[in-house]
Symmetry: C2
Subunit: 213 residues, 2 copies
DNA sequence: GTCTATATCCTGATAGAC
DNA sequence: GTCTATCAGGATATAGAC
Protein backbone atom coordinates (compact mmCIF):
# COMPACT_ATOMS: atom_id res chain seq x y z
CA UNK A 1 0.00 0.00 0.00
CA UNK A 2 2.84 2.38 0.72
CA UNK A 3 4.90 1.03 -2.12
CA UNK A 4 3.92 3.64 -4.69
CA UNK A 5 5.27 6.58 -2.71
CA UNK A 6 8.37 7.82 -4.47
CA UNK A 7 8.60 4.69 -6.50
CA UNK A 8 11.15 6.20 -8.83
CA UNK A 9 13.65 6.94 -6.09
CA UNK A 10 13.27 3.49 -4.62
CA UNK A 11 14.05 2.04 -7.99
CA UNK A 12 17.16 4.14 -8.46
CA UNK A 13 18.33 3.28 -5.00
CA UNK A 14 17.88 -0.38 -5.77
CA UNK A 15 19.80 0.01 -9.01
CA UNK A 16 22.75 1.58 -7.25
CA UNK A 17 22.73 -1.15 -4.65
CA UNK A 18 22.76 -3.71 -7.44
CA UNK A 19 25.69 -2.02 -9.11
CA UNK A 20 27.59 -2.07 -5.81
CA UNK A 21 26.78 -5.74 -5.30
CA UNK A 22 27.93 -6.55 -8.80
CA UNK A 23 31.29 -4.82 -8.38
CA UNK A 24 31.74 -6.19 -4.88
CA UNK A 25 31.03 -9.71 -6.07
CA UNK A 26 33.69 -9.51 -8.73
CA UNK A 27 36.29 -8.12 -6.32
CA UNK A 28 35.49 -10.16 -3.22
CA UNK A 29 35.25 -13.45 -5.09
CA UNK A 30 38.51 -12.85 -6.92
CA UNK A 31 40.70 -11.52 -4.10
CA UNK A 32 38.97 -12.36 -0.83
CA UNK A 33 37.32 -10.39 1.93
CA UNK A 34 40.44 -8.95 3.54
CA UNK A 35 42.22 -8.07 0.32
CA UNK A 36 39.42 -5.88 -1.03
CA UNK A 37 38.87 -2.42 0.45
CA UNK A 38 35.60 -0.53 0.47
CA UNK A 39 37.38 2.16 -1.50
CA UNK A 40 38.09 -0.28 -4.29
CA UNK A 41 34.46 -1.31 -4.44
CA UNK A 42 33.29 2.29 -4.47
CA UNK A 43 35.75 3.27 -7.16
CA UNK A 44 34.72 0.34 -9.34
CA UNK A 45 31.15 1.59 -9.37
CA UNK A 46 31.99 5.30 -9.68
CA UNK A 47 31.18 6.40 -6.15
CA UNK A 48 33.19 7.70 -3.25
CA UNK A 49 33.80 5.32 -0.41
CA UNK A 50 31.40 6.85 2.16
CA UNK A 51 28.53 6.60 -0.34
CA UNK A 52 28.58 2.83 0.08
CA UNK A 53 27.43 3.23 3.64
CA UNK A 54 24.12 4.61 2.49
CA UNK A 55 23.37 1.17 1.02
CA UNK A 56 25.22 -1.20 3.34
CA UNK A 57 25.88 -0.60 7.00
CA UNK A 58 29.27 -2.31 7.12
CA UNK A 59 31.78 -4.02 4.88
CA UNK A 60 30.80 -7.32 6.41
CA UNK A 61 27.14 -6.74 5.59
CA UNK A 62 28.11 -6.05 1.99
CA UNK A 63 30.11 -9.25 1.84
CA UNK A 64 27.26 -11.27 3.30
CA UNK A 65 24.90 -9.85 0.69
CA UNK A 66 27.35 -10.76 -2.06
CA UNK A 67 27.86 -14.28 -0.78
CA UNK A 68 24.14 -14.86 -0.26
CA UNK A 69 23.49 -13.75 -3.82
CA UNK A 70 26.17 -16.05 -5.13
CA UNK A 71 24.86 -19.00 -3.16
CA UNK A 72 21.34 -18.28 -4.45
CA UNK A 73 22.62 -18.19 -8.01
CA UNK A 74 24.37 -21.53 -7.62
CA UNK A 75 21.36 -22.97 -5.82
CA UNK A 76 19.03 -22.12 -8.69
CA UNK A 77 21.27 -23.83 -11.23
CA UNK A 78 21.93 -26.84 -9.05
CA UNK A 79 18.29 -27.45 -8.25
CA UNK A 80 17.29 -27.08 -11.88
CA UNK A 81 19.80 -29.68 -13.01
CA UNK A 82 19.35 -32.02 -10.04
CA UNK A 83 15.63 -32.22 -10.80
CA UNK A 84 16.19 -33.64 -14.25
CA UNK A 85 15.41 -37.22 -15.10
CA UNK A 86 18.15 -39.65 -15.99
CA UNK A 87 20.96 -41.70 -14.52
CA UNK A 88 22.91 -40.29 -11.60
CA UNK A 89 26.04 -40.14 -13.70
CA UNK A 90 24.45 -37.87 -16.28
CA UNK A 91 23.00 -35.59 -13.68
CA UNK A 92 26.38 -35.30 -11.97
CA UNK A 93 27.90 -34.53 -15.33
CA UNK A 94 25.39 -31.73 -15.89
CA UNK A 95 26.11 -30.33 -12.45
CA UNK A 96 29.85 -30.46 -13.00
CA UNK A 97 29.52 -28.72 -16.35
CA UNK A 98 27.32 -26.03 -14.82
CA UNK A 99 29.63 -25.37 -11.89
CA UNK A 100 32.82 -25.43 -13.92
CA UNK A 101 31.25 -22.94 -16.31
CA UNK A 102 29.60 -20.57 -13.88
CA UNK A 103 32.14 -20.39 -11.09
CA UNK A 104 34.82 -18.05 -12.35
CA UNK A 105 36.45 -17.26 -9.04
CA UNK A 106 38.47 -18.81 -6.24
CA UNK A 107 35.99 -21.16 -4.62
CA UNK A 108 38.15 -22.28 -1.64
CA UNK A 109 38.86 -18.63 -0.92
CA UNK A 110 35.14 -17.87 -0.67
CA UNK A 111 34.73 -20.89 1.53
CA UNK A 112 37.57 -19.72 3.78
CA UNK A 113 36.16 -16.21 4.05
CA UNK A 114 32.75 -17.56 4.97
CA UNK A 115 34.29 -19.73 7.65
CA UNK A 116 36.85 -17.49 9.30
CA UNK A 117 36.77 -13.83 8.29
CA UNK A 118 33.30 -12.92 9.49
CA UNK A 119 31.48 -12.54 12.78
CA UNK A 120 29.62 -15.41 14.28
CA UNK A 121 26.22 -14.30 13.11
CA UNK A 122 27.29 -13.79 9.50
CA UNK A 123 29.08 -17.11 9.55
CA UNK A 124 25.98 -18.91 10.72
CA UNK A 125 23.80 -17.17 8.15
CA UNK A 126 26.13 -18.04 5.28
CA UNK A 127 26.81 -21.53 6.57
CA UNK A 128 23.11 -22.28 6.65
CA UNK A 129 22.59 -20.85 3.16
CA UNK A 130 25.53 -22.81 1.79
CA UNK A 131 24.37 -26.02 3.33
CA UNK A 132 20.71 -25.61 2.43
CA UNK A 133 21.30 -24.25 -1.05
CA UNK A 134 24.25 -26.28 -2.28
CA UNK A 135 25.06 -29.28 -0.09
CA UNK A 136 21.47 -30.34 0.60
CA UNK A 137 20.26 -30.56 -3.02
CA UNK A 138 23.43 -32.40 -3.99
CA UNK A 139 22.99 -34.74 -1.04
CA UNK A 140 19.45 -35.50 -2.18
CA UNK A 141 20.82 -36.52 -5.55
CA UNK A 142 23.45 -38.72 -3.93
CA UNK A 143 20.81 -40.33 -1.72
CA UNK A 144 18.67 -41.10 -4.77
CA UNK A 145 21.68 -42.56 -6.55
CA UNK A 146 22.39 -44.80 -3.59
CA UNK A 147 18.79 -46.00 -3.46
CA UNK A 148 18.95 -46.76 -7.15
CA UNK A 149 22.10 -48.81 -6.64
CA UNK A 150 24.19 -46.48 -8.79
CA UNK A 151 26.31 -45.18 -5.91
CA UNK A 152 27.86 -47.03 -3.02
CA UNK A 153 26.49 -46.10 0.37
CA UNK A 154 28.36 -45.89 3.65
CA UNK A 155 27.94 -49.60 4.31
CA UNK A 156 29.83 -50.45 1.12
CA UNK A 157 32.84 -48.17 1.21
CA UNK A 158 31.00 -45.07 0.04
CA UNK A 159 29.99 -41.93 1.90
CA UNK A 160 26.87 -40.48 3.44
CA UNK A 161 24.83 -38.42 0.96
CA UNK A 162 26.09 -35.18 2.49
CA UNK A 163 29.62 -36.57 2.50
CA UNK A 164 29.31 -37.40 -1.18
CA UNK A 165 28.06 -33.89 -1.86
CA UNK A 166 31.05 -32.44 -0.05
CA UNK A 167 33.46 -34.61 -1.98
CA UNK A 168 31.80 -33.62 -5.23
CA UNK A 169 32.33 -29.94 -4.38
CA UNK A 170 35.95 -30.68 -3.51
CA UNK A 171 36.36 -32.22 -6.96
CA UNK A 172 34.79 -29.15 -8.54
CA UNK A 173 37.13 -26.87 -6.60
CA UNK A 174 40.11 -28.97 -7.66
CA UNK A 175 39.17 -28.87 -11.32
CA UNK A 176 38.63 -25.12 -11.12
CA UNK A 177 42.05 -24.57 -9.66
CA UNK A 178 44.82 -23.22 -11.80
CA UNK A 179 48.06 -24.87 -10.89
CA UNK A 180 50.65 -22.91 -8.97
CA UNK A 181 53.35 -23.93 -11.35
CA UNK A 182 53.51 -25.42 -14.81
CA UNK A 183 51.36 -24.84 -17.84
CA UNK A 184 48.63 -22.31 -17.32
CA UNK A 185 47.15 -23.03 -20.68
CA UNK A 186 43.48 -23.87 -20.94
CA UNK A 187 42.68 -27.48 -20.25
CA UNK A 188 42.51 -29.53 -23.44
CA UNK A 189 38.88 -30.08 -24.34
CA UNK A 190 37.69 -27.29 -22.08
CA UNK A 191 34.82 -27.55 -19.66
CA UNK A 192 33.22 -30.53 -21.35
CA UNK A 193 36.30 -32.73 -21.05
CA UNK A 194 36.92 -31.54 -17.50
CA UNK A 195 33.37 -32.41 -16.46
CA UNK A 196 33.72 -35.84 -18.06
CA UNK A 197 37.00 -36.48 -16.28
CA UNK A 198 35.65 -35.18 -12.98
CA UNK A 199 32.65 -37.51 -12.94
CA UNK A 200 34.68 -40.47 -14.13
CA UNK A 201 37.23 -40.01 -11.35
CA UNK A 202 34.57 -39.38 -8.73
CA UNK A 203 32.69 -42.55 -9.62
CA UNK A 204 35.48 -44.91 -10.61
CA UNK A 205 38.61 -43.54 -9.03
CA UNK A 206 42.18 -43.92 -10.18
CA UNK A 207 42.71 -47.60 -9.40
CA UNK A 208 43.04 -50.27 -12.03
CA UNK A 209 39.99 -52.34 -12.62
CA UNK A 210 40.13 -55.61 -10.76
CA UNK A 211 37.31 -58.01 -10.13
CA UNK A 212 36.42 -58.18 -6.50
CA UNK A 213 34.75 -61.59 -6.81
CA UNK B 1 87.59 -20.59 8.77
CA UNK B 2 85.78 -17.50 10.02
CA UNK B 3 83.08 -19.54 11.67
CA UNK B 4 84.50 -19.55 15.17
CA UNK B 5 84.42 -15.79 15.58
CA UNK B 6 81.66 -14.97 18.06
CA UNK B 7 80.14 -18.38 17.70
CA UNK B 8 77.95 -17.94 20.76
CA UNK B 9 76.21 -14.87 19.42
CA UNK B 10 75.61 -16.54 16.12
CA UNK B 11 73.95 -19.37 17.91
CA UNK B 12 71.69 -17.14 19.96
CA UNK B 13 70.76 -15.21 16.90
CA UNK B 14 69.83 -18.42 15.18
CA UNK B 15 67.75 -19.48 18.14
CA UNK B 16 65.75 -16.25 18.12
CA UNK B 17 65.20 -16.59 14.40
CA UNK B 18 63.92 -20.11 14.96
CA UNK B 19 61.52 -18.91 17.64
CA UNK B 20 60.20 -16.27 15.29
CA UNK B 21 59.77 -18.83 12.53
CA UNK B 22 57.94 -21.15 14.86
CA UNK B 23 55.47 -18.50 16.00
CA UNK B 24 55.04 -17.17 12.48
CA UNK B 25 54.36 -20.63 11.14
CA UNK B 26 51.58 -21.21 13.62
CA UNK B 27 49.96 -17.84 12.92
CA UNK B 28 50.43 -17.65 9.14
CA UNK B 29 49.30 -21.22 8.56
CA UNK B 30 46.21 -20.78 10.72
CA UNK B 31 45.00 -17.36 9.60
CA UNK B 32 46.74 -16.52 6.36
CA UNK B 33 49.35 -14.02 5.24
CA UNK B 34 47.15 -10.93 5.23
CA UNK B 35 45.35 -11.68 8.48
CA UNK B 36 48.53 -11.90 10.55
CA UNK B 37 50.41 -8.73 11.45
CA UNK B 38 54.09 -8.53 12.23
CA UNK B 39 53.13 -7.21 15.66
CA UNK B 40 51.21 -10.40 16.39
CA UNK B 41 54.21 -12.49 15.46
CA UNK B 42 56.53 -10.38 17.59
CA UNK B 43 54.20 -10.50 20.57
CA UNK B 44 53.87 -14.27 20.32
CA UNK B 45 57.62 -14.62 20.72
CA UNK B 46 58.03 -11.90 23.33
CA UNK B 47 59.66 -9.25 21.18
CA UNK B 48 58.66 -5.84 19.97
CA UNK B 49 57.68 -5.54 16.35
CA UNK B 50 60.79 -3.71 15.07
CA UNK B 51 63.02 -6.45 16.53
CA UNK B 52 61.70 -8.82 13.86
CA UNK B 53 63.41 -6.74 11.22
CA UNK B 54 66.77 -7.62 12.58
CA UNK B 55 66.12 -11.23 11.50
CA UNK B 56 63.92 -10.83 8.44
CA UNK B 57 63.99 -7.90 6.05
CA UNK B 58 60.26 -7.86 5.28
CA UNK B 59 57.05 -9.59 6.24
CA UNK B 60 57.06 -11.33 2.90
CA UNK B 61 60.56 -12.69 3.49
CA UNK B 62 59.40 -14.08 6.82
CA UNK B 63 56.44 -15.75 5.17
CA UNK B 64 58.60 -17.26 2.47
CA UNK B 65 60.94 -18.68 5.11
CA UNK B 66 57.98 -20.17 6.97
CA UNK B 67 56.49 -21.70 3.85
CA UNK B 68 59.83 -23.08 2.66
CA UNK B 69 60.35 -24.71 6.03
CA UNK B 70 56.91 -26.21 5.95
CA UNK B 71 57.38 -27.56 2.44
CA UNK B 72 60.74 -29.04 3.48
CA UNK B 73 59.12 -30.73 6.47
CA UNK B 74 56.41 -32.27 4.30
CA UNK B 75 58.95 -33.21 1.67
CA UNK B 76 61.04 -35.18 4.15
CA UNK B 77 58.04 -37.18 5.33
CA UNK B 78 56.69 -37.74 1.86
CA UNK B 79 59.97 -38.94 0.42
CA UNK B 80 60.57 -41.24 3.36
CA UNK B 81 57.20 -42.92 2.93
CA UNK B 82 57.19 -42.91 -0.86
CA UNK B 83 60.51 -44.81 -0.87
CA UNK B 84 59.05 -47.77 1.02
CA UNK B 85 58.44 -51.07 -0.64
CA UNK B 86 54.96 -52.43 -1.10
CA UNK B 87 51.81 -52.00 -3.14
CA UNK B 88 50.86 -48.52 -4.31
CA UNK B 89 47.73 -48.64 -2.22
CA UNK B 90 49.66 -49.15 0.99
CA UNK B 91 52.13 -46.44 0.20
CA UNK B 92 49.30 -44.02 -0.53
CA UNK B 93 47.72 -45.03 2.73
CA UNK B 94 50.93 -44.23 4.59
CA UNK B 95 51.18 -40.87 2.85
CA UNK B 96 47.58 -40.02 3.65
CA UNK B 97 48.07 -40.94 7.30
CA UNK B 98 51.23 -38.87 7.50
CA UNK B 99 49.67 -35.80 5.90
CA UNK B 100 46.41 -36.00 7.84
CA UNK B 101 48.43 -36.24 11.03
CA UNK B 102 51.06 -33.64 10.39
CA UNK B 103 49.11 -30.92 8.63
CA UNK B 104 47.24 -29.10 11.36
CA UNK B 105 46.44 -25.94 9.44
CA UNK B 106 44.39 -24.65 6.55
CA UNK B 107 46.09 -26.15 3.54
CA UNK B 108 44.09 -24.40 0.79
CA UNK B 109 44.76 -21.12 2.56
CA UNK B 110 48.50 -21.69 2.40
CA UNK B 111 48.14 -22.61 -1.23
CA UNK B 112 46.18 -19.43 -1.93
CA UNK B 113 48.71 -17.26 -0.13
CA UNK B 114 51.57 -18.81 -2.08
CA UNK B 115 49.72 -18.16 -5.32
CA UNK B 116 48.31 -14.67 -4.93
CA UNK B 117 49.52 -12.74 -1.90
CA UNK B 118 53.21 -12.56 -2.67
CA UNK B 119 55.45 -10.89 -5.20
CA UNK B 120 56.41 -12.64 -8.35
CA UNK B 121 59.82 -13.75 -7.16
CA UNK B 122 58.52 -15.24 -3.90
CA UNK B 123 55.71 -16.93 -5.78
CA UNK B 124 58.15 -18.56 -8.16
CA UNK B 125 60.42 -19.67 -5.35
CA UNK B 126 57.60 -21.24 -3.39
CA UNK B 127 55.94 -22.69 -6.45
CA UNK B 128 59.14 -24.45 -7.41
CA UNK B 129 59.67 -25.75 -3.88
CA UNK B 130 56.09 -26.96 -3.67
CA UNK B 131 56.26 -28.70 -7.00
CA UNK B 132 59.68 -30.22 -6.47
CA UNK B 133 59.17 -31.22 -2.86
CA UNK B 134 55.58 -32.38 -2.79
CA UNK B 135 54.07 -32.88 -6.23
CA UNK B 136 57.13 -34.44 -7.87
CA UNK B 137 57.73 -37.25 -5.33
CA UNK B 138 54.03 -38.05 -5.32
CA UNK B 139 54.00 -38.04 -9.11
CA UNK B 140 56.90 -40.51 -9.12
CA UNK B 141 54.85 -42.83 -6.96
CA UNK B 142 51.86 -42.49 -9.26
CA UNK B 143 54.02 -43.19 -12.28
CA UNK B 144 55.39 -46.32 -10.66
CA UNK B 145 51.85 -47.44 -9.80
CA UNK B 146 50.80 -46.96 -13.40
CA UNK B 147 53.77 -48.96 -14.69
CA UNK B 148 52.89 -51.74 -12.24
CA UNK B 149 49.31 -51.79 -13.52
CA UNK B 150 47.91 -50.74 -10.17
CA UNK B 151 46.74 -47.33 -11.34
CA UNK B 152 45.02 -46.32 -14.54
CA UNK B 153 47.01 -44.04 -16.77
CA UNK B 154 45.77 -41.21 -18.96
CA UNK B 155 44.96 -43.58 -21.81
CA UNK B 156 42.52 -45.51 -19.61
CA UNK B 157 40.50 -42.81 -17.90
CA UNK B 158 43.16 -41.97 -15.35
CA UNK B 159 45.40 -38.94 -14.99
CA UNK B 160 48.99 -38.03 -15.67
CA UNK B 161 51.29 -38.79 -12.72
CA UNK B 162 51.41 -35.12 -11.75
CA UNK B 163 47.63 -34.89 -12.19
CA UNK B 164 47.18 -37.84 -9.87
CA UNK B 165 49.47 -36.21 -7.33
CA UNK B 166 47.41 -33.02 -7.48
CA UNK B 167 44.17 -34.94 -7.04
CA UNK B 168 45.66 -36.80 -4.09
CA UNK B 169 46.53 -33.50 -2.42
CA UNK B 170 43.00 -32.25 -3.12
CA UNK B 171 41.68 -35.32 -1.32
CA UNK B 172 43.99 -34.65 1.61
CA UNK B 173 42.82 -31.03 1.78
CA UNK B 174 39.20 -32.15 1.67
CA UNK B 175 39.66 -34.67 4.46
CA UNK B 176 41.46 -32.05 6.55
CA UNK B 177 38.64 -29.58 6.15
CA UNK B 178 36.31 -28.96 9.03
CA UNK B 179 32.82 -28.48 7.70
CA UNK B 180 31.35 -24.99 7.71
CA UNK B 181 28.16 -26.24 9.30
CA UNK B 182 27.07 -29.38 11.10
CA UNK B 183 28.90 -31.57 13.55
CA UNK B 184 32.40 -30.42 14.33
CA UNK B 185 33.10 -33.53 16.31
CA UNK B 186 36.17 -35.55 15.52
CA UNK B 187 35.75 -37.97 12.69
CA UNK B 188 34.81 -41.42 13.89
CA UNK B 189 37.89 -43.62 13.80
CA UNK B 190 40.22 -40.66 13.64
CA UNK B 191 43.11 -40.34 11.23
CA UNK B 192 43.40 -44.05 10.53
CA UNK B 193 39.81 -44.37 9.32
CA UNK B 194 40.08 -41.12 7.36
CA UNK B 195 43.21 -42.33 5.58
CA UNK B 196 41.51 -45.63 4.77
CA UNK B 197 38.46 -43.86 3.39
CA UNK B 198 40.59 -41.38 1.45
CA UNK B 199 42.58 -44.04 -0.37
CA UNK B 200 39.51 -46.17 -1.02
CA UNK B 201 37.66 -43.26 -2.59
CA UNK B 202 40.67 -42.11 -4.57
CA UNK B 203 41.24 -45.55 -6.05
CA UNK B 204 37.72 -46.87 -6.41
CA UNK B 205 35.46 -43.85 -6.39
CA UNK B 206 31.86 -43.60 -5.29
CA UNK B 207 30.19 -45.54 -8.08
CA UNK B 208 28.67 -48.96 -7.63
CA UNK B 209 30.77 -51.85 -8.87
CA UNK B 210 29.67 -52.98 -12.27
CA UNK B 211 31.48 -55.31 -14.59
CA UNK B 212 32.68 -53.54 -17.64
CA UNK B 213 32.32 -56.63 -19.72
C1' DG C 1 21.90 10.12 -2.14
C1' DT C 2 26.35 11.66 -2.76
C1' DC C 3 29.82 14.65 -1.58
C1' DT C 4 34.12 16.55 1.34
C1' DA C 5 36.38 16.22 5.48
C1' DT C 6 37.82 13.71 9.17
C1' DA C 7 38.12 10.56 13.31
C1' DT C 8 40.29 6.49 14.87
C1' DC C 9 42.88 2.73 14.37
C1' DC C 10 46.14 -0.49 12.42
C1' DT C 11 49.62 -1.61 9.02
C1' DG C 12 54.69 -2.43 7.49
C1' DA C 13 58.87 -0.34 7.96
C1' DT C 14 62.69 3.00 9.65
C1' DA C 15 65.74 5.97 12.94
C1' DG C 16 68.49 6.10 16.56
C1' DA C 17 69.50 5.37 21.68
C1' DC C 18 71.44 1.77 24.61
C1' DG D 1 70.15 -7.34 19.37
C1' DT D 2 66.38 -5.13 21.32
C1' DC D 3 64.31 -1.17 22.74
C1' DT D 4 61.32 3.50 22.27
C1' DA D 5 59.56 6.61 19.15
C1' DT D 6 57.76 7.52 14.91
C1' DC D 7 56.70 7.86 9.92
C1' DA D 8 53.67 7.35 6.03
C1' DG D 9 49.95 5.11 4.24
C1' DG D 10 45.64 2.69 4.22
C1' DA D 11 41.72 0.71 6.64
C1' DT D 12 36.62 1.20 8.27
C1' DA D 13 33.38 4.18 9.60
C1' DT D 14 31.11 8.79 10.87
C1' DA D 15 29.70 13.96 10.59
C1' DG D 16 27.62 17.24 8.25
C1' DA D 17 27.07 20.26 3.99
C1' DC D 18 24.44 20.25 -0.27
Amino acid sequence: MVERRRGGNEQEREETAQLILQAARRLFMAHGYRAVSTRQVAEAVGLTQPALYHHFATKEELYVAVALGEVARLRAGIERIARREGPTRERLHGLARFLLTTVDYDFPLMYHDMGTELGEQSRETLGAAFYGGIIAPLAALFAAGQRAGELRDEAHGGLSPAGGAGLFMAFVAHFLDRPLVGERTARPGGVEASAESLVGLLLEGLGARVDRG
